[in-house]
Subunit: 350 residues, 4 copies
């Protein structure tokens, strides 16, 4: 007998994360998408806005209509921060609902941190109900939750790369560097000069350097929890002329002598129940092309005997493991399903 | 109860079509890949050569070992032409086997045509057993067959674009033009100067023009069968700086007055049982990005009142509908399964 | 003794053609750029808007100020059509001025053609003073003129490809096909969804098909003048995932038997005084990468014995020979200089 | 009166650095290229191998012929290391010759360093005559020299980025990180799987990490000389899906409190006679697209108050400032000319 499906709604489905949620959910074996909202495209067929999805009878509806969640058991919010908290404050009291927010609004434990980087939080009471949705770290808390703050793309790549070493105190928690490189879809589907093809193609640059990027506090919150002490990190995002993918190059100093194999054992133990983490062989290094379109995270590392550093590399698809795939992974866990359900696609290479 | 699986073997699995077969077959619900051969990589782990596939215990084996098909019910041959016919001549007598050949060796009805473009055929007797594996045209013959000549990538896009109009004699069969544009993966994974990143990036060019490309006779064979008369076509392949995708722009003269809507009705009727053909709305035109990674074929058209021509556009992913996806579609039909089994992935956009 | 310089002004210099004019004029041995206007950026330093130009003390000024041309002997107008004619109507009476308009406003001999495709012309009397600025065809008229309608990018590639064959009546003037492919900079620097990196990368599509593109009448005007009879052409523009370059693939039927070498002689004679036209050797075909950043036009051709067609290929950099380089070539001719002055840069490959 | 030209020969001119030398030298106002050698292409026309150069009557000649330098005053060697030292050992005794070597063979002061990274040096006596050809640092030594070791591409970007801060002891010399990203042309024009379009496109990865890359000792030699003490650096090269450009992101700890403006003043003073160094404004960060095709180096920086680090960014075109342009800059200085001669092209953007 076929298993029954649950109903899902996407609020704010006309950006690239919304499109990616649809790509995955329309083929998820236990989910039916019953609604997608969009202020820009309300009333239009989803098929016309996103022809790559092929035939679907879904229409974009008005997010203000207030009925978005009536039929749903799961709601994904893929709207900008601030908007998300308003919608979620209205939805949360409905005990039937599981909510996965792809904005920054429910990623922080401390409303003060949120305020410092994004402005005042309108629903600070909800923060204590929210769980930071990185399943490889917080799966047991996720299992209990009704509200997930789905992680940012850069934080996902950086935290997964450093977690075992920080948690087990194998590296100095001070002086960390995360030199991260992202494809252009991370900037979203909105119109700005810097996202034009001719401004990106054949160019490479950094942006929001020196602690300006809003993913910084999120990275530091989680790394501090892992290290069990407050820490800061130098985080430098760069733009790569490609559509998808993030590679983070992470620099740290080991606290004790170690080997490539020791680290392998550490990571293998830490991620033994993490089906989407791929630890590479000694001769390999992560490549975003090898995770494209999939929910996998490739991790590799090297010791530099000349400078005494350990260098860790972490590659994800920013739209999948860095956003929509991870949201579905969280949903699977929230609902007590196998976390890989609907997420086993192999990467598209080339 | 889970349905039983059949065993499949890939002969020549180390190129991009082999990799794409593996990507799709390793997730096919009713197939188990029990062998992959490669002269270049024999003895090596598939996982090491193709890390994007993730963990698999498959090893590349020696294609000369002669035992490749012992456990298999289905064999995919993805070796160069000439090599394919030698292997298939040995395999074909085994009545248990279904064989899908991705080379050119079994695409032609007339051995003379093969000889003119590729040289002498070593197994001409087998040609009469082979079916040209374009399911949208030849599904009933495929269903009866044991040996499939899987179509070339350009022919797939061109034939699907023109078939309804030629079959129903709505266009002149003479003077056809197919101006086709392909991503670089069509050139395969072998080392040649023209496939280097720096030789392709930011460039656009034609190649093998004026009837030099070996896909020409294949296109003409099938279009002639559809038109029920011998015809020629001007076929001009071009190279696009992208990895995947073919767009064919097809020029013809209508034989009678017609409208966009008439053509829509014709195509809809012709492809009513073709789940992978997507006919576009009036305001749309096909785009390779919108079929990437999928087995879909987008078709659109325009009438040019000023010159009296009809212009048809057809877009596919050359590695999927143009090669490995179509091979699996053929396998599904050969085995009496739903032709979409294992092929319902939505395109990766962006 | 160093030769004296003339003063030039660019009206509407903040798009890609404006940037390209600046790139070339700032290094032109006999030109001093004394003004650049921009409605969007007025008051800002040119260096800040276009950092690739490096240090220059130019500021963007207000195009409405009315004094733009006071110091100039040459004015380049790189504003949208309609705006151009208004500005030029004010400037033209000043007999000192040479005006090169990069919009469509002065490309047509017949105001009725302009009206049909762009709307009513506001300065129809000026049309008779304007010369279509394709120097390889109209150099003697350009030499006498004060007002140049600088050709569109697609028309430049198509007309240069077909001119010798049409002029000498070697091909049928009816049934021509121009299947053209352009890089993204042809769409300009304005914000629209279709120009976003993620919407273009790894995709290939046609647009404005079937006589919808406004370059159609311009192509037909010039081809008709060459053929000495009215003709139409099927023109199909496509978008290539690259920043620069146009390749046009041109299909025609010879009116008499001919050979590759005959055509070579014809083109060589026709273009004997055209320093920017590069006729390729028999084994070669044009590639946009090989003209990138330069004012060259590569032309090659093939005869298809099977279908009787001749296929001509023409490659240019759309921003140079297709716009700003050609404008400077026109300026050089207008001023009686060597037409290659300031335009001898070799292509950037790779 | 036109100034006389000197004769130049390129040994090993069939790679991308050879092509780039030709692109620039064929338009250099005071150089005549009288010979180009290539083992692979000897006897073939340069024009056929590199059609982007257009008409030139140069032929590739045999480098073994021994007469390569007879007519030359300047020789550029663009062959692999080891080969270069053999050729140069034969050429150097001819006192008329100035030699600029683009390989690694004459970049090291200490033959022991060379041996450790490349193997035994065959002409160690010549090392003391060679000058490391980074004109922004060693211009007075270059002026006296006859043999230049032209810097590697990564070292150029990294040394220019760090030189002022190290020289003036504003940063700690220990614990430096250079996270560098290069376009694919840095891998040359040879056939290897990793340089295929489909292996690079839409991917991003690191390679030769942890002190494995042979540019490491070159970087450390020069940084140590600047710091006046021995130092090491963590150098991590990455591959960007683009043809040209290097961006280096450099991490250091200031030795004293400083501001963005202080650093600006320091760099401006240090580079006051360096016409190719572009120091960016406060709101800007370097972008490889903005130096493409030019000899410029963009430098920008940020202070990160949260972690106390200074982060410096340096962007060059790897084939120009990182190789052939810098070689010509060195030639200009060797010959007593203005160092910008033939190198004033503005970047090609977009």
């Amino acid at each position: 007998m076929a298993e029954s499906k649950i109903n899902a709604v996407i609020v704010g489905g006309s950006g690239y994360t919304g499109l990616e949620l649809l790509r995955l959910l329309l083929r998820h074996p236990r989910v039916k998408v019953v609604g997608v909202t969009s202020r820009t495209y309300q009333g239009q067929k989803v098929q016309q806005v996103f022809p790559s999805l092929g035939y679907t009878d879904l229409l974009f509806s008005d997010p203000a209509a207030g009925e978005i969640a009536r039929e749903a058991q799961v709601v994904f919010t893929a709207v900008p921060h601030k908007e998300a908290m308003e919608i979620i404050a209205r939805l949360f009291p409905d005990q039937r609902l599981k909510i996965i927010d792809l904005s920054a609004d429910f990623r922080f434990q401390d409303p003060e941190t949120y305020r410092a980087w994004y402005g005042p939080h309108q629903a600070p009471d909800l923060l204590k109900h929210a769980v930071y949705g990185l399943p490889e770290i917080h799966s047991s808390a996720i299992r209990q939750a009704r509200l997930i703050g789905n992680p940012g793309c850069y934080p996902t790549s950086i935290i997964l790369g450093l977690a075992p070493l920080l948690k087990e105190k194998w590296i100095e928690p001070l002086g960390l560097v995360a030199d991260s490189k992202s494809g252009v879809s991370g900037a979203g589907r909105s119109l700005n000069l810097g996202s034009l093809y001719c401004e990106v193609d054949e160019g490479f640059k950094a942006y929001k350097v020196g602690g300006e990027h809003r993913h910084t506090p999120e990275i530091e919150q989680e790394l501090s929890r892992l290290a069990d002490r407050s820490l800061t990190i130098t985080f430098t995002p760069h733009l790569v002329p490609m559509s998808r993918g993030i590679l983070s190059t992470l620099y740290a100093y080991p606290q004790k002598e170690t080997t490539w194999e020791n680290i392998r054992d550490l990571y293998a133990a830490f991620y033994r129940e993490a089906p989407f983490v791929r630890l590479l062989e000694k001769e390999e290094l992560p490549n975003t092309l090898r995770v494209r379109g999939s929910n996998y995270c490739e991790i590799g590392w090297r010791l530099d005997p000349r400078t005494g550093r350990v260098i860790i590399f972490s590659a994800i698809d920013n739209l999948v493991k860095g956003a929509s795939g991870q949201a579905i992974q969280n949903m699977n866990i929230l609902l007590g399903w196998d976390q890989t359900l609907g997420l086993t696609q192999l990467p598209l290479y080339p």
